[in-house]
Amino acid sequence: MMVVKSWRLTPLALGAALAMAAAGAQAQAQSESMFSLSGFGTVGVVGTTKDGGEYVIPGQTQGADQSLSGEVDTKLGLQVGAKFNSKFSATVQVLTKQNGKGNWTPQIEWAYGKYQATPGLAFRLGRMGAPFFAVSDFRDVGYANTWLRPPIDVYGQVPVSHFDGGDVNWTTQLAGHSVTLGAFAGQSQSYVRNVKVELKDMVGLNASAELMDGLTVRLGHVMGKVTVNNASVNTLVATLRGTPYASVGNQLDPNGKDATFSSIGLTYDEGNWVAAAEFTKRKTDTFVPDTTGWYTTLGYRVGKFTPYATLSQQKTDSVNVDNTVPSPSALHTIVDTVANSQSTPQKTIGLGMRWDAWRNIAVKAQYDSIKTTGGGQFYNVQPGFANQRVGVYSLAVDFVF
């Protein structure tokens, strides 16, 4: 049923893409136009070797098991840029993919104005990509990435892709190396598995430097106040506050709690080798666990083919709740269940191949062998699925125009 639904959508998405491509070609013909149109998309299918849990990109509400799903990776994005003069420009990006509400309603991913003060200094205001990761901005642009999708063990930790606010980015040459420093502030609201998650008072810093030809290092740190609008957690917190275990309730409380995310990443792309690695840490003061996520990817180009391998892991460092409610009791069990509900540790070994089939089309196949602790990042986990090794095979066609 899921498959049927997604395949109905795909021709529609492709039709729209073709129409937009034609419009883009026309826009390009009028070479003096201040508008530019570009787009990206993926048509992808995923299946797994085991029923009883669905493979999703964290945040989604439906995914793949032994019956294939086209709803995990398929997406279409359109971007319109307007350059008013050499300093002022504006960009709007609309993206349709399976969102955190489980539907395909197109969302305004970006809508910002940019002031390019000097060739190296730019200010932006509006809605823009939230730079939590090395490939945050183009995590949905399959064509831009070697992998079929960014490793979910790392990218699943923060299912927030954009924020509303402002940023400043400064690029300069330092001792012959290109260095970029960025700062941003704002807030964001998104749906994660039908639950509204808000980040307020968000402030972040980024720095990247090209150490040598093709080798770039990136550092990032974000802090803010997180609110998870989950009615049952709030009810549990209220209940606990009426018992001698109010402190347990305070630890679970998901309203306006401190959260941070720190990352260090390396990317290498020179000659035939491509490599990437990120090491990240999420910390919160609520029932969302502190986690460590990392991956390393290595690939080697052979003509139009790039075989690659990725190792990745998400670890739970702390569930952030010291359950002092006496056991055995129903309340103790409920607190444990909630505290562990967002803990999704797993390890993945991934092997894939990118084929640059056409000038703006890449075809990719990837096989991930995932070892979960509990249900890992699988969704709708049934009893008996826990602590398994599950194979996930994916095929995708990525395009840009």
Binding site: S36, P119, G129, D137, F138, T171, G271, D356, R359, V400
Partner: protein
């Protein structure tokens, strides 16, 4: 037998020479630009979107030849060391992170020359044989 071999070698040499001649590409700027010679690295950073500044400090306005132009393939493989698919992927990373706009694509060497001659901060590349007084060569790649 010996004679035959020589003929083949001479033919191969001619072929190599012809390919080399065809492969010569000149990177050109506006004749009034203060930019002198540029290194392949400087040119590559502009055409791969790593920097949008010319050595003069002004923002560069880069222009491309069509994707099927032989000079384009030569230019990118020699000046940047990247295949057209790699260049496309690099630009898609910039476009879809809002960090840049790829060089405007023009239809022919004549159009590139016309554009460069009319824009003080323009930079483009054309077959060396197409170079004339309307543009200034800052780098030759072959």
């Amino acid at each position: 037998m010996q004679f035959k071999m020589n003929k083949i070698l001479a033919g191969a040499a001619l072929l190599v020479a012809a390919v080399a001649a065809q492969a010569q590409v000149a990177v050109v700027v506006n004749p009034k630009s203060s930019v002198g010679n540029m290194t392949a690295d400087q040119v590559a950073s502009i055409f791969l979107g790593k920097s949008n500044a010319l050595p003069s400090g002004n923002a560069a306005v880069a222009v491309d030849l069509p994707e099927n132009a032989a000079a384009r393939e030569t230019f990118y493989s020699k000046a940047t060391g990247k295949s057209s698919a790699q260049v496309k992927a690099a630009w898609s990373r910039l476009v879809f992170s809002g960090k840049g706009t790829p060089p405007k694509e023009l239809g022919s060497a004549a159009e590139v020359k016309k554009f460069v001659a009319a824009n003080p901060d323009a930079i483009g590349y054309i077959e060396k044989s197409a170079v004339d007084g309307s543009v200034k060569v800052v780098l030759s790649v072959e």
